[in-house]
């Protein structure tokens, strides 16, 4: 069977505008799901990380259990849990968007939490002691001293996880959310050109994630030049 990339020329607008951006009759959109997931999962991840570092057993054990359980289960399973559970808990079925968003935030927060925990632990103990010595409270110390430094240290792993997250959003298509993958499936039902269509979205995903990794490398170069001197001085003193 010969290849015919005319199918891309005919449908690229639907695939990109509807599937990638989420503008159109179906709602949906890979980016419309990925961006809020990144923000919310990062915030929840900070909470998980602080719980994992807490000296209070009632914070430490639940946070640790959360991380261990989620990391031992496939994402599809978490998506199906929410797909099944939300209608029972809320009483009405929610649109796929909210189910997918909830599942992804809960899943990715476990991974982000571990990255953030490692980042916080990489900040020298002396920094916290110095902050407390100047009279800062726990929250102020975290917000103005520890987290800004921790974020710099964990930036590479963090961006890697964000890239994984963007790829993971393709799983929302399983419950019928109109993302890039679902858009390709929808077009394919009419055109029966799976090779061309799936190869095209593979390239789109690739451009998106590869662009993110290039951006993160540039960001790392920018932030690291300002910081290495300082951390080295602190560590050696």
């Amino acid at each position: 069977m010969t290849l015919d990339f005319g199918v891309i020329a005919d449908n690229w607008r639907f695939l990109l505008v509807q599937g990638l951006l989420g503008i159109g009759a179906f709602g949906g959109g890979t980016l419309a799901l990925a961006v809020p997931t990144i923000v919310l999962a990062f915030l929840l991840g900070i909470g998980i990380a602080l719980g994992r570092l807490s000296a209070q057993p009632w914070l430490y054990y639940p946070a640790s259990l959360y991380v261990q359980v989620i990391r031992g289960v496939p994402l599809v399973m978490v998506v199906f849990w929410f797909w099944f559970f939300i209608p029972i808990a809320v009483g009405v079925p929610l649109p796929q968007y909210w189910v997918a968003l909830a599942a992804f935030v809960v899943f990715e927060a476990a991974y982000l939490g571990e990255i953030i925990r490692a980042g916080i632990q990489s900040v020298p103990r002396g920094q916290v002691e110095a902050a407390q010595a100047t009279g800062l409270r726990y929250t102020t110390t975290m917000r103005h001293v520890v987290l800004p430094q921790a974020v710099r240290n964990m930036l590479p792993s963090l961006v890697t996880q964000f890239i994984i997250l963007v790829k993971d959003t393709s799983l929302a298509s399983i419950i019928g959310y109109m993302d890039l993958t679902k858009a390709a499936q929808t077009v394919n039902q009419r055109e029966i050109r799976p090779f061309e269509l799936y190869l095209f979205i593979a390239v789109v995903y690739w451009l998106l994630t590869y662009g993110m990794s290039l951006g993160s490398r540039a960001l790392e170069r920018r932030t690291s030049t300002g910081v290495t001197g300082r951390v080295a001085t602190v560590a050696s003193s």
């Binding site: 990391r71 031992g72 289960v73 496939p74 599809v76 399973m77 790829k167 390709a184 799976p194 799936y198």
Partner: protein, 248 residues
């Protein structure tokens, strides 16, 4: 009438999990998951070892070949690879091969290929990091004993790297095991697929999902424990800091 709260609205019936045929479905699902993950892992490990080594090779052409493979295959969602291998690739194969695939579990072959090639790219990065952590003098010493470059890689560098990378490799193997669940989208009857099937036959979603979740947790714990033993067995004395920061 006020709606009953959560569990009250739901009648539990755990016995479906050990009634025929549902118990058999679950066991079949686990068996398929294990076979799929094992075959996918073998393919991924082979691809990962070759391309990871190639990425550190002295030849610029070989290095960029390795980089192209890694960057393309790991930056596209596994789900898209599943669809491409299952729906797309047969379209460009000669029809005798298509017929053969249709008669021989084409979806299983596609799932193994997708898992192997995707995780191969990720394992290649682990292998590359392992090789690069070996001091350059090891390569020089190997070459000075008269080995060719490919012999030095095959007999010295890669074996040492494989022993160094057990912790991150464990992590990646667990990812592969969990990701094998995506094969349900191309109707491979693995654990998640069977979980869903039990849910739709019995309407016992809570019980079915609990069973699936516990199965994956158990498998992951089992693999972790087995790999921890392997790690102790193959550790190079003096080279690995136990519990160190290799895996993030």
């Amino acid at each position: 009438m006020p709606r009953p709260f959560l569990a009250l609205a739901y009648q539990f019936q755990w016995s479906v999990l050990w009634t025929s045929p549902y118990l058999g479905w679950l066991l079949q699902g686990v068996l398929t998951t294990l076979t799929l993950a094992l075959l996918g892992w073998l393919l991924a490990a082979a691809l990962g070892a070759v391309f990871g080594a190639v990425r550190t090779a002295p030849s610029r052409v070989l290095r960029s070949l390795g980089a192209t493979y890694v960057e393309f295959f790991r930056n596209v969602p596994l789900l898209v690879w599943m669809f491409l291998w299952y729906f797309g690739v047969p379209q460009v194969l000669p029809s005798p091969v298509q017929d053969w695939l249709n008669r021989h579990n084409g979806e299983f072959v596609a799932a193994v290929a997708a898992l192997g090639v995707y995780h191969g790219a990720r394992i290649a990065e682990v292998v590359r990091a392992g090789i690069q952590s070996i001091p350059a003098t090891q390569l020089e010493a190997a070459l000075s004993t008269g080995l060719t470059v490919s012999q030095a890689y095959r007999l010295v560098l890669v074996p040492i790297a494989l022993r160094l990378i057990v912790p991150p490799l464990t992590n990646e193997s667990l990812n592969l095991l969990k990701n094998s669940s995506l094969a349900l989208t191309i109707s491979v009857a693995e654990t998640t697929f069977m979980t869903r099937q039990i849910e739709s036959y019995t309407a016992r979603g809570f019980e079915a999902l609990t069973a699936g979740t516990l199965i994956y947790l158990g498998l992951c714990l089992g693999v972790s424990a087995a790999m921890a033993r392997v790690e102790r067995r193959v550790a190079i004395p003096g080279l690995i800091v136990r519990g160190g920061g290799v895996a993030h």
